[in-house]
């Protein structure tokens, strides 16, 4: 059976292109979504979380901070807002980012700065998504 082609693109670059993928697990807004080869055409919105791809026994994890996913003709395209491979994520940095975001959020709430509040909330979600990815990659 022919595998899937998975491409992850962010506005800044093409993050990933993998051929012969046997399974893609993605955090859809409707819940965890599993895509096997010859999946029906699909367009869905993604939540911040972990994108997992399997090729035979090999498994890779990517942190995504939200985006969109499209399945068409055995090609899975993820339009990610930002995406990182689990092995590239530093646990300390993600942890530091989480703390910084929480501090910013507190400060923004006190000053009632709407733009800053939204920014801080998004930063927090991103940091949490990264931490989750690191966790899952470690557990395999």
């Amino acid at each position: 059976m022919a595998g899937l082609t998975l491409t992850v693109v962010s506005p800044e670059r093409e993050v990933l292109r993998e051929e012969g993928v046997t399974l893609v697990l993605a955090p859809s807004v409707e819940g965890q979504l599993g895509i096997l080869p010859r999946h029906a055409p699909l367009i869905t919105q993604l939540e911040p979380g972990t994108l997992e791809l399997r090729r035979g026994a090999e498994t890779q994890h990517f942190s995504i901070t939200g985006g969109f996913l499209e399945v068409m003709d055995n090609t899975v395209t993820v339009l990610a807002d930002a995406s990182e491979n689990a092995s590239e994520i530093s646990r300390e940095r993600a942890e530091a980012a989480r703390e910084a975001a929480m501090r910013d959020l507190d400060e923004a709430r006190q000053t009632h700065d709407d733009v800053m509040t939204t920014q801080a909330r998004l930063a927090l979600l991103r940091a949490l998504a990264r931490l989750r990815t690191v966790e899952r990659a470690r557990r395999g």
Partner: protein, 288 residues
């Protein structure tokens, strides 16, 4: 006539300037290459998002479009003007500002306007002319999507709230190293990608449904459009600076040549008159 000492000082000073302009030229050249690569790297996302929007619009149907895509009468227009933070970039910022001003003035006769500026140069040039509703001067000249998120958020929120009914963006398009063309594009109401006449509604599953996905996707589309314009600005800035600094370096070289010639002439004249002095002195002694 300047003294030889003065001429030597001026030569040294122009030479120092030339070293600076040449260094800036080289730095701009290497940054320009990076900026052009960033423009290239942003293309796949743009292609995919346009295709996705096309399929979503087709599936939603024109009568069920989400509010963000529904047309409404235009009573207030916002302008987003993209300029650089730093100068020494030739006529780049002047040209953007000129285009922006003529665009804004042509509009403000009929309807209310608000102006949002990116870049210190645009801020300086426009703050005396209009009331600026927001200014962003902390965006790097190698922008990331996160850098520009506050800008798009402001525009998307403002449009959704109804603060303005149209948003136009003025930015320089990078045509080639010598040409940067100021361009005006409409961000809101969103210019949807052309749906092919013969496109059929494919049997696509949408989660949760096409209208909601479309509604969530539109802010990303606008963000991508602004991000790409920022990259065009960055490439334009570096190429304009490179050209301006190359011209400055050449001018300095010419100036130095002129000064050297004047200095040498002066030195020669002094030597000649000293020889005449000595010679005529010696002659006078011999005659006596």
């Amino acid at each position: 006539m300047a003294s030889p000492l003065e001429l030597r000082r001026r030569i040294r000073s122009v030479d120092n300037t030339r070293q600076i302009t040449r260094a800036m030229q080289l730095v701009a050249a290497s940054r320009m290459r990076r900026a052009q690569e960033a423009v290239q790297a942003a293309r796949p996302y743009a292609t995919h998002i346009s295709g996705m929007i096309e399929r979503l619009v087709l599936a939603t149907g024109n009568d069920r479009l989400p509010p963000i895509l529904q047309p409404r009468p235009i009573e207030r227009t916002a302008f987003l003007v993209l300029t650089t933070n730093r100068g020494l970039a030739g006529p780049l910022n002047t040209n953007i500002v000129r285009t922006a001003v003529s665009e804004i003035d042509a509009t403000s006769d009929a309807i209310e306007i608000s102006v949002v500026v990116v870049g210190k140069k645009g801020h300086l040039a426009l703050r005396g002319l209009y009331t600026l509703s927001a200014v962003f001067t902390d965006i790097s000249d190698q922008p990331s999507v996160l850098d520009i998120a506050p800008v798009t958020q402001l525009l998307v929120d403002g449009y959704e709230r109804g603060d303005f009914d149209e948003v136009r963006m003025v930015y320089p398009e990078f045509v080639n190293i010598l040409t940067q063309q100021p361009r005006v594009v409409r961000l809101f109401p969103v210019v949807l990608p052309e749906v092919q006449q013969d496109a059929r509604e494919a049997d696509i599953i949408f989660e949760p449904d096409p209208a909601s996905v479309l509604e969530a996707l539109i802010p990303r589309f606008v963000e991508m459009t602004v991000y790409r314009a920022m990259l065009e600005l960055a490439a334009s800035e570096q190429s304009a600076r490179m050209v301006a600094m190359r011209a400055a370096t050449e001018n300095a070289t010419e100036l130095i040549e002129g000064l050297r010639l004047a200095y040498n002439k002066l030195r020669q004249a002094r030597i000649t008159s000293e020889i005449i002095d000595i010679a005529s002195g010696a002659n006078a002694l011999a005659d006596a």
